[in-house]
């Protein structure tokens, strides 16, 4: 497995085989931001582990060359930061992102550029927010027959707030695209959470859908679980586990999610 480890804004480990090129640009002045550029030329898997310190600032730029499939697993932990991801997908590319994070404060900007025809992204993100988390997505369909499936699941606890702003763009003449967004927040606090799902579509030949849900688990779900003898606490833990682990098949991410769930729901 190709692996990159980042501590604060420094690239610590980069064990990668052929097919992945990494360029690391250290900031040259005080207000600049370190950037890690990853170029994928061959189909492969990649694991990125990020450990944020205090107000870490970091940029990632991930380019997928033509006809490349990348399974990308990202785990983020630590304190606080601002992280920017920019993905560029060329013709016939397929990017599968599985991402989980448990940090205190984070502001992320994610830009997905579907540049080449038939490029596709499946983006699966899970988080447990116990402070302040904001995610701002821009998904640009720049070629015909491109597909974006964005799925965000978050659980809000303690002092947590969570904002998902997800904007998908399909301009005129870019036809045959599929644009899907699913955003769900289970808010176990009285704090305010927000989902702003936007579809900016200027063409008629497109398949688009979005769903947004903020709330608690339904009474019916709790009743069903408890009717089999599970107490409230165990039922809630199982429902949260299901909510945060569905569609994740990477063992390391699953273990990390489970460990975090055990931390909050003993």
């Amino acid at each position: 497995m190709n692996k990159i480890k980042v501590v604060d804004d420094n690239l610590k480990i980069a064990n990668v085989n052929s097919g992945i090129n990494i360029e690391y640009y250290e900031k040259e002045c005080l207000f600049a931001i370190n950037e890690i550029k990853i170029v994928v030329t061959k189909s492969t898997d990649l694991e990125i582990e990020i450990n944020l310190k205090d107000d870490t600032k970091l940029n990632f730029c991930i380019d997928l060359k033509e006809d490349v499939n990348l399974n990308l697993n990202i785990v983020t932990k630590g304190k606080s930061g601002k992280v920017q991801y920019k993905y560029n997908l060329n013709r016939n590319c397929c990017l599968n992102v599985f991402k989980f994070q448990n940090v205190d404060i984070i502001k992320e900007m994610i830009t997905l550029n579907l540049i080449g025809e038939n490029s596709k992204i499946d983006y699966n993100f899970k988080t447990i927010s116990n402070d302040k988390e904001t995610y701002d997505y821009h998904i640009f369909h720049k070629s015909k027959n491109t597909i974006s499936n964005i799925k965000n699941n978050g659980v809000c606890i303690k002092d947590g707030t969570l904002i998902y702003q997800v904007s998908s763009f399909v301009p005129k003449e870019i036809t045959g695209c599929t644009v899907t967004q699913s955003n769900r927040i289970i808010n176990l606090t009285n704090n305010k959470c927000e989902i702003r799902p936007n579809l900016y579509i200027d063409t008629s030949n497109v398949e688009a859908s979005h769903s947004a849900l903020i709330g608690k688990f339904s009474d019916e779900e709790m009743f069903y679980m408890q009717s089999r003898g599970l107490d409230y606490k165990t039922s809630l833990k199982l429902l949260i586990t299901g909510f945060l682990t569905s569609d994740i098949n990477n063992k390391k991410i699953l273990d990390f999610i489970t460990k975090n769930i055990d931390k909050y729901w003993r």
Binding site: D219, E220, F223, G229, T234, L238
Partner: protein, 263 residues
Amino acid sequence: MNILKIENLTVSVDNKIILKDFNLTIKSKEIHVLMGINGIGKSTLTKVIMGDSNYKIENGYIYYNDVLLNNMSVDERSRLGIFLGMQLPLEIEGVTNADFLRSALSIREKESFKLFDFIKELDKNVEILNMDKNMIHRGINQGFSGGERKKNEILQMYMLKPSLVMLDEIDSGLDVDSLKIIGNAIYEYYKKYNPGILLITHYQRLLDYVKPTHVHIISNGKIEKTGDASLVKEIEKNGFKNISSKKFVSTSECIIKGKIKNE
């Protein structure tokens, strides 16, 4: 001997009376069938026994083995041995059937819970019910057909081994072969564990496999008529209207005004 006793039970939802002065006793080895027109309160009864908080007990008592259930939580009732196989089993994303059952059993059995025995028994029961083995590793009822969901309810019954089984229209949505499998599975469970059973159904077909000892017709919030298995055939032949002289009223027509008084 396990006994469920319902005494003068009055239940409301959103200020509508659903059940009024309802009485019923179910003992081990008895198979009771509850019939009646749609919306009359059959499912309400099972939900109230199970402790669904959407239903308000205005009056009356529910006892199981002399333990008052009225203020007991849903999970406590389940752990007393009460099971409800639901009419529309929910789909729960991400929680696998295996994890769900393992958690439910480990809470019941505590230290005596053995994972290996659990897996062995689960595999055996999956085979009895002719289910796809992969289903136990999928989310609860996730992507299941109506029939598969009903089989999953029966699988849960087999694993949890309740002493009081309530099955709400377990025969709806089943093809002929699945009905046979489920009908036989319920009867085999009955023969092996002798539970008290409360079946809600609209049709005779399930009762070809599970022979009832008591058949009740519910109307106006209470049991209107009780008989044996022949009553089901009579209903199938003549309909509900010709069974009772009284008019059958759907619960939605019974609107409670002010506080309910004991009659």
